[in-house]
């Protein structure tokens, strides 16, 4: 869809710049005139929301780093000083902490959107895979960031996650020591995590650039999952989608602000207001909510290395989705069977998150949750490795509309050429 440029420099400075560094042309072609399917719905506004989230985290993070001290003795108190003494420190920190949760909320909606409408299918495989990479970088960044306040959950979360590497045969223990810089999580670990936590958001920003670049070659998918066939199927990105994105961004920010101002510790764990103690593990150690489904998978396997492999495979699996889905139709709107499996998958992810939040030996109505988690884990993998390839082959999709314009405008649309 990235056809010939429609940019037409008018003023002298624009003409001068266009022959030297055609930045205005790039902005115009990618953010203004860019032809976008005319039928994008609310679920397509989360790309813009995610860019906003990244910006918020970088800006608040840079400010917090001006007051934070990465030292095992001082980190906890420096965070408390931000909360109590620094001008508006409470606000900036709560925006940053809740911002991480809002970031993940938005990215999960964005990913489920992509799954439902088949946005990973050809020719958009690389957009999806780059997205998985961003998701992985986000999880690493969030993990490093959660360690920095040096509370009990920070410390023990860091211990458990770094110990995942110790399950690697032969060299695992040496890798763990290398990650720690000591024989346990400590001062050296905190310092390097701070360094990486500051670095990774900029790497994410660069990879987001690739994500958008790759998006701008084939253009957006859309809820119908059919290709753009004529200019009638599209509208320019500006003002149609700049305004739509802005409107839903405002709704999103209202939700965001609701958490920051009315329930700032909603996503937090009270144990993280206890300074890190290397000698006492809290009775119930849980990761942040956005990692709970993977945590439930880890715990549902009663063998250390196998548990780590299952958890890692759950994320690596996402990379292969473009080739696991054998359907010729992209959108689940026209896939009556796959649609049901999709919603079951969403429920399973929520169930896994719930299981990850409960104690290891918890039961619901006499059913041990570990078995619920095991069945849910099986479904998670079956969804990608069995259901996706098989349903794509046996399912009869509904009839696709002739064009986006016809679907949106009905008879008023001119027939596609």
């Amino acid at each position: 869809m990235s056809g010939p440029s429609t940019y037409n420099p008018t003023s002298g400075i624009e003409k001068w710049l266009d022959q030297r560094l055609p930045l205005p042309r790039l902005m115009h072609d990618t953010m203004s005139s860019f032809p976008t399917p005319r039928n994008l719905n609310i679920w397509y506004t989360f790309g813009g929301i995610l860019t906003f989230c990244l910006g918020v985290q970088i800006v608040t993070g840079i400010v917090l780093a001006m007051h934070y001290v990465a030292s095992a003795d001082l980190a906890f108190n420096s965070v408390e000083a931000i909360m109590r003494d620094v001008n508006y420190g409470w606000l900036i920190r709560y925006v940053h902490a809740n911002g991480a949760s809002m970031f993940f909320l938005a990215v999960y909606i964005h990913m489920f959107r992509g799954l439902y409408y088949g946005s990973y299918k050809a020719p958009r495989e690389l957009i999806w895979i780059i997205g998985v990479l961003i998701y992985l970088l986000m999880m690493m960044t969030a993990f490093f960031g959660y360690v920095l306040p040096w509370g009990q959950m920070s410390f023990w979360g860091a211990t458990v996650i770094t110990n995942l590497f110790s399950s690697i045969p032969v060299v695992g223990h040496d890798i763990a020591i290398w990650l720690w810089g000591d024989f346990a999580v400590g001062e050296a670990t905190l310092n390097r995590f701070f360094s990486l936590h500051y670095l990774l958001p900029f790497i994410i920003a660069a990879v987001v650039g690739l994500h958008i670049w790759a998006l701008h070659v084939p253009g957006n998918n859309n809820p119908l999952g059919i290709d753009v066939k004529s200019p009638q199927d599209t509208v320019p990105f500006h003002p149609y989608y700049t305004v739509k994105d802005a409107f839903y961004l405002i709704l999103f920010v209202i939700l965001f602000a609701g958490f920051v101002f009315f329930s700032p510790d909603f996503f937090g764990n009270p144990d993280n207001y206890i300074p890190a103690n290397p000698l006492v593990t809290p009775p119930d150690i849980v990761p942040e909510w956005y990692l709970l489904p993977f945590y439930a998978m880890l715990r549902s396997v009663p063998q250390k290395l196998l548990g780590v492999i299952v958890m890692g495979a759950a994320i690596v699996t996402l990379v292969f989705i473009p080739w696991l889905d054998t359907s010729r139709v992209r959108s689940c709107r026209f896939r009556p069977l796959m649609k049901q499996f999709f919603w079951a998958f969403v429920v399973v992810c929520v169930v896994l998150g719930y299981c990850g939040h409960q104690a290891v030996d918890a039961e619901v109505a006499g059913v041990p949750l570990v078995w619920v988690a095991r069945i849910a884990t099986l479904y998670y993998f079956a969804y990608f490795w069995l259901i996706m390839p098989i349903v794509g082959l046996i399912e009869t999709p509904k009839k696709l509309p002739a064009s986006i314009a016809q679907s949106v405008l009905g008879d008023k649309a001119a027939p596609a050429e």
Partner: protein
């Protein structure tokens, strides 16, 4: 250079390969310090041995001390504890090895191979699953089904000799090298 006149080996080819090879070696030589700097520093390695006073521990109690950043347990066991620890078929254990750093790797996980004096059990207090500190079980506050320790993170259940009995941990709690200086003082590390 007999081949200097052939098409295959010009001076430019030689310079290309030679500078590529030197560049590769240089890149590796520069990368290694950047990787190795993350390993424990000389200060972390310099923590040698330490002495622990165990005289104030009553039967049934344990203390937790810290060595090289890790929690370590010293537990004084009751006669009933010791009897329970000895009354276990080693072959039935998930991990049949002693994991005693002072003994050969193949030593069986009998209680005698994991202690210096039966009354005292000294362990590395790091769950062999993902590194949490297991909670001690006492008659007042029982933890787990085997009277030893329960790791709350992922439910690994250790017996009164620190051997894994149930749960995801792959190994018994490790026994660090230690020696008795007197009846009430041990040297660790």
């Amino acid at each position: 250079m007999a081949a200097s006149h052939s098409d295959a080996g010009t001076r430019r080819d030689f310079l290309y390969v030679a500078s590529g090879a030197i560049g590769g070696v240089a890149a590796a030589a520069v990368a290694w310090p950047l990787i190795d700097q993350m390993n424990p520093s000389a200060a972390a390695l310099a923590l040698a041995s330490t002495e622990i006073d165990i005289g104030s521990i009553h039967p049934g109690q344990q203390i937790i001390y810290k060595w090289r950043g890790q929690p370590r347990f010293a537990r004084r066991r009751t006669p009933a504890d010791i009897a329970a620890a000895k009354d276990v078929d080693v072959k039935s254990l998930p991990d049949p090895l002693a994991r005693n750093r002072a003994k050969p790797d193949a030593t069986p996980a009998t209680d005698a191979e994991r202690t210096v004096k039966p009354e005292w059990l000294v362990l590395v207090g790091v769950c062999t699953h993902l590194g949490c500190t297991p909670s001690v079980s006492t008659p007042q506050i029982p933890e787990g089904q085997y009277g030893g320790w329960l790791c709350h993170c992922h439910g690994s259940d250790y017996d009164i000799s620190g051997r894994i009995r149930k749960g995801p941990a792959p190994e018994n709690l490790a026994v660090p090298p230690y020696s008795f200086l007197t009846d009430t003082r041990i040297k660790v590390g």
